[in-house]
């Protein structure tokens, strides 16, 4: 980060700042809002690409990849808020994913004509509630232990989903989930559904950006960086940690709903520990505490294996190798910011 031009006169510096403050009272010294013109240009190009994607890359495969990436985005962004911005080593994210998917699935298969938007909203709330629930024990437990505790949660959810046939359809799952529809219009084709997940992902990213670049985001990271110092400033560690869990898990709930509508089917096999690991990998590789990193991580770990089909079987192990290399060279991940101090070589 570059500093201001050094000036000897203190008063001048203060005036500069006051002037800057007047013209853009929302000026936020985060890297990604730095150069307005460049950002504007990229945004326009990016938005056009996203909007026109189905025409530009219309093959079924490319569409499926895009939809897959867009379903992962809220998952990864949410996980990153919990682990990156809030510093809590949470691993069982697929548990929240599952709750979102099953909430949607159960509602729309049990209640004829249940509105899709309401199902999505309830999926978000349901997953958020589980996040709140797990947030409390998470407060009392340290880093490594939290890791295992959340894995345990993941396995409990899968176990219950597999056993509780009456509610979840057991191992066979819930089938015949109707198409996503709003006000009578059914999103039949993949091209149609692409826009649904796109809007969901964009909304999620927007919310995340607003939240993280606000005062709340600062306090969240303060609580992560130094708990004692944060408390000495009046920050509620409990409040920050719980909020992170609720926000992160709610986003997973959104992904769950999208997943259910995309596949038309919800089964426990999709929410195993493997899934949590994949989401975690996306955060680690893409970059801690970075929304762009989350998106990048999702793209890399979904699109790349598709592109390098011949490596499909080694996807898991290669991810592991990449992560090991990153831990030495760039522990914050590709686009991550300052969460983990650079390694001190012993």
């Amino acid at each position: 980060m570059s500093g201001k031009d050094s000036k000897d006169n203190v008063a001048d510096l203060r005036q500069d700042h006051a002037r800057a403050n007047e013209s853009s009272p929302r000026r936020i010294p985060h890297a990604y809002l730095r150069k307005p013109l460049a950002i504007g240009a990229v945004a326009i190009v990016g938005a056009s690409l996203l909007a026109g994607y189905p025409w530009l890359f219309g093959t079924p495969l490319m569409l499926q990849i895009a939809i897959s990436v867009l379903i992962y985005v809220p998952l990864v962004v949410g996980q990153n808020i919990i682990t990156g911005n809030s510093g809590q080593l949470s691993m069982g994210h697929a548990a929240f994913y599952a709750v979102g998917a099953y909430c949607t699935g159960i509602l729309v298969t049990r209640l004829d004509g249940f509105p899709a938007l309401a199902a999505v909203a309830l999926a978000i709330v349901g997953a958020g509630l589980l996040g709140l629930l797990i947030g409390f024990p998470a407060l009392r437990v340290s880093g490594d232990y939290l890791f295992i505790l959340t894995i345990g949660l993941n396995l409990i959810v899968v176990s219950v989903a597999t056993q509780w046939e009456a509610a979840t359809g057991g191992a066979r799952g819930l089938t015949r989930i109707p198409l996503f529809s709003v006000g009578g219009y059914e999103f039949r084709t993949p091209e149609d559904f692409y826009y649904v997940v796109l809007i969901a992902a964009v909304l999620c990213v927007g919310v995340a950006a607003a939240v993280l670049s606000s005062r709340f985001g600062r306090l969240l990271e303060a609580a992560r960086d130094d708990r004692a110092a944060a408390e000495a400033c009046g920050v509620s560690i409990t409040g920050m940690r719980l909020s992170a869990f609720v926000i992160g898990s709610s986003m997973a709930g959104l992904s769950g709903a999208m997943f259910a509508y995309n596949l038309g089917f919800v089964g426990p096999q999709s929410f195993t520990l493997q899934q949590s690991l994949l989401i975690f990998e996306m955060v680690i590789i893409g970059g801690l505490a970075s929304i762009r990193g989350s998106i990048l991580g999702a793209i890399i770990l979904v699109a790349l294996p598709e592109a390098l089909r011949f490596l499909q079987d080694y996807r898991l192990g290669l991810g592991g190798v990449i992560i090991l290399i990153l831990m030495v060279w760039r522990p914050n991940g590709l686009l991550g910011k300052g969460v983990v101090a650079p390694l001190v070589k012993s």
Partner: protein, 272 residues
């Protein structure tokens, strides 16, 4: 009811003195070691009170007990007439007890300005949801907070102002200390606890900081508890000094008298 500070205009003149702090019969023991043994001190409003003593005499423990970082076996702590004893560190900060740490504790992933802004938590009126939604009231308050932070950082001359956007990890130790102090002042505290603020600074920097401290305190009329090893600074800044030894009060009075006390000289034998 914990009183929280009202939001102030950024160019507030010196305000009425506050921060009368009374610690009564503080007792802390770790395992078999007694760190504080029924210690009592009285910090008058608007005044800098010194706490000195050899290593291990309990100075930092005292600060920790006041700020809430350390649960005492027993202690009565009263700030401006309100008992803060039952409350934890966070609520004590909200009540107006600000502090710095013996080894500087900053938020290393953030810049100088961002670190200072965290200190504004106590005084913020609009809620976090308003902040997330960027409501106008929240935005104006953010701007005011930034201006307040810059004004406070400006007290340190051009040490920090050219570096507002620098990550604090890149700063010199002395500058990190200054950021920590600025962050504490942002709380608009009633009492500021300074734990060896000049540790790690050279004599020139120490002297400079000593000159700046009274001005910082006058800004919000707060009192201060200054733990220090450097005797000349204590003499310069403090009207009253408490001398600790092995968790107990050894002597107390104005710095010159205390220095001449034979008990004090004996305790410090071989030390500074």
């Amino acid at each position: 009811m914990i009183p929280s500070g009202p939001a102030r205009a950024t160019t507030a003149p010196a305000t009425a003195a506050r921060g009368h702090l009374t610690v009564d019969d503080a007792y802390v023991a770790f395992g078999g070691i007694v760190a504080l043994d029924g210690l009592s001190i009285d910090v008058p409003a608007g005044v800098i009170t010194g706490v000195i003593g050899p290593n291990g005499s309990g100075k930092t423990t005292l600060i920790d007990v006041i700020s809430g970082a350390q649960r005492p076996g027993r202690a009565s702590i009263v700030l401006d007439g309100i008992s803060v004893g039952p409350h934890g560190a966070r609520l004590r900060a909200r009540a107006g007890i600000a502090r710095t740490f013996q080894h500087v504790r900053l938020f290393d992933s953030m810049t100088v300005l961002e670190n200072a802004l965290i200190g504004g938590t106590r005084v913020y009126q609009s809620g976090l949801t308003a902040a997330m939604l960027r409501l106008p009231r929240s935005r104006t308050e953010e701007a005011r907070q930034r201006q307040a932070a810059v004004d406070i950082l400006a007290i340190f001359g051009d040490r920090l102002l050219p570096r507002l956007d620098h990550p604090v990890g890149t700063l010199s130790y002395a500058n990190r200390r200054r950021v920590e102090i600025a962050r504490a002042i942002m709380l608009e505290p009633r009492v500021l606890l300074l734990d060896e603020p000049t540790a790690g600074m050279n004599p020139h920097e120490s002297f400079e900081l000593a000159e700046q401290i009274p001005g910082l305190l006058q800004r919000y009329g707060c009192s201060a508890v200054l733990v220090e090893h450097k005797v000349d600074i204590v003499v310069q800044l403090c009207k009253e000094v408490y001398v600790l030894d092995h968790g107990q009060l050894l002597a107390h009075g104005n710095p010159t008298t205390v220095q001449q006390d034979p008990k004090v000289q004996e305790a410090f034998l071989g030390v500074d």
